[in-house]
């Protein structure tokens, strides 16, 4: 007849060999912790294993460590690795949400008929560097952008006095001063050469 203690010891043997399933293992671990005889069996089975592997350095510090830990505070950090995993999951969710939002905004911009300010700047630079006169009215949207070096010397239109009343030219001059080159971070050719822009308004 097999007694209960023997069954549990058999399970301790299996536990040591990593052959118990999770639920069973948890039960056996609890049994070992709460029963001095089973605790002793856990201990002696490890001596047997270590002796067979010829690794029986003859020390047993378990009691000393146990006594030292009496004064140690209890650790109360439940499942820090799971917290870590949760944190990683949250970060992943956030990054996915951010990516979706960025894609949505990008799509909305691409669908928009009106060019944003950046597009306007690019068109404006193309206008100036291609040597054309500033567009009038609604012709800007039909212009094509031809990238050129920001340092290329544009051939500026000759400023006539009647341009001063043209709101587009006024806008043009405003751009010349403030936002013509901000996207590249480079100074305007006029700033580089120290000359006043040919398109500068005649005061």
């Amino acid at each position: 007849m097999v007694i209960r203690g023997e069954i549990v010891r058999n399970e301790i043997s299996e536990l040591m060999d990593g052959e118990l399933d999770g639920t069973h293992a948890a039960k056996v671990i609890n049994a070992i912790k709460n029963d001095d005889d089973l605790f002793s069996d856990w201990k002696i089975y490890h001596v047997v294993g270590d002796s067979l592997r010829q690794s029986a350095v003859n020390i047993d510090i378990s009691e000393q460590v146990k006594n030292q830990l009496v004064d140690e505070p209890l650790l109360l950090s439940p499942y820090p690795h799971k917290i870590h995993q949760n944190l990683k999951q949250k970060l992943l969710n956030l990054s996915v949400a951010a990516s979706v939002a960025a894609l949505s905004v990008g799509w909305l911009i691409s669908q928009s008929g009106e060019q944003p300010e950046t597009g306007l700047k690019e068109v404006y630079m193309a206008e100036k560097t291609s040597g054309k006169t500033a567009p009038v009215g609604g012709h800007r949207s039909s212009m094509t952008f031809q990238p050129v070096s920001a340092y290329s010397s544009p051939s500026m239109p000759v400023v006539s006095t009647h341009y001063n009343n043209d709101p587009l030219i006024y806008r043009d001059l405003t751009y010349e001063r403030s936002v013509r080159y901000p996207t590249t971070g480079m100074p305007s050719p006029a700033e580089v050469t120290g000359e006043q822009s040919a398109a500068a308004p005649v005061e």
Partner: protein, 200 residues
């Protein structure tokens, strides 16, 4: 449930405030850790102290242990660092093996043959008695029991692999290994006594 998963379960219990679970980990790894540390430290008493200190440090650091590596790998790393710090604090030269001793070496460390004798005269005597008793008990076992436990403890095979080799069901392997352990343990119990603080 693998060995590593069992350790992780015990670690989680310690992290929830269960010190008794830590006792099980100490019992499981104390000799393996001491054997590793004896590679760097000559004095047996110092090996024992450093082993003890390593476990205390590990306990205190357990809240930050996330299970990214195996518990014993992490423990060995603490042990090696503790040994290094100890040697430096003593103004002793670090053995060349310390600096080149990484996690992988710690995991695969089984160099019993290369070890110095790390036991005190008393513990050495006890160690010899334990080894002799285990060997005698093993020889007295029926062949199927001794084969099963040797394949498990020395070769590290799983029950399934042992069943294949011995051409028997896994349940039989389980039973044979348990009976072998019990038989050897029975011979050891009088020698080790019931006094838990007894050294062996």
């Amino acid at each position: 449930m693998s060995d590593r998963e069992i350790d992780q379960q015990l670690v989680e219990q310690v992290q929830r405030g269960d010190k008794r679970a830590f006792d099980l980990l100490v019992i499981k790894y104390q000799r393996r850790l001491a054997r590793l540390l004896s590679r760097f430290i000559r004095d047996p008493a110092e090996v024992e102290d450093i082993t003890q200190e390593t476990f205390i440090k590990a306990y205190r650091a357990l809240p930050s242990f996330r299970g990214d590596s195996a518990f014993y790998t992490w423990l060995y790393r603490i042990g090696v660092n503790t040994a290094k710090n100890f040697l430096v604090s003593q103004g002793r030269k670090l053995p060349a093996t310390v600096n080149g001793f990484g996690t992988e070496e710690a995991e695969n460390f089984e160099g019993a043959d290369q070890l110095r004798e790390v036991n005190t005269p008393e513990s050495e005597l006890m160690g010899k008695q334990v080894a002799q008793t285990v060997n005698q008990a093993l020889e007295a076992l029926p062949e199927e029991l001794s084969t099963a436990i040797v394949l498990r403890e020395i070769e590290g095979l799983s029950y399934e692999e042992i069943a294949d080799i011995m051409n028997c069901p896994i349940g039989t392997v389980r039973s044979r290994i348990f009976r072998a352990r019990e038989a050897v343990a029975d011979k050891l119990r009088p020698l080790l006594g019931t006094d838990k603080s007894k050294r062996w």
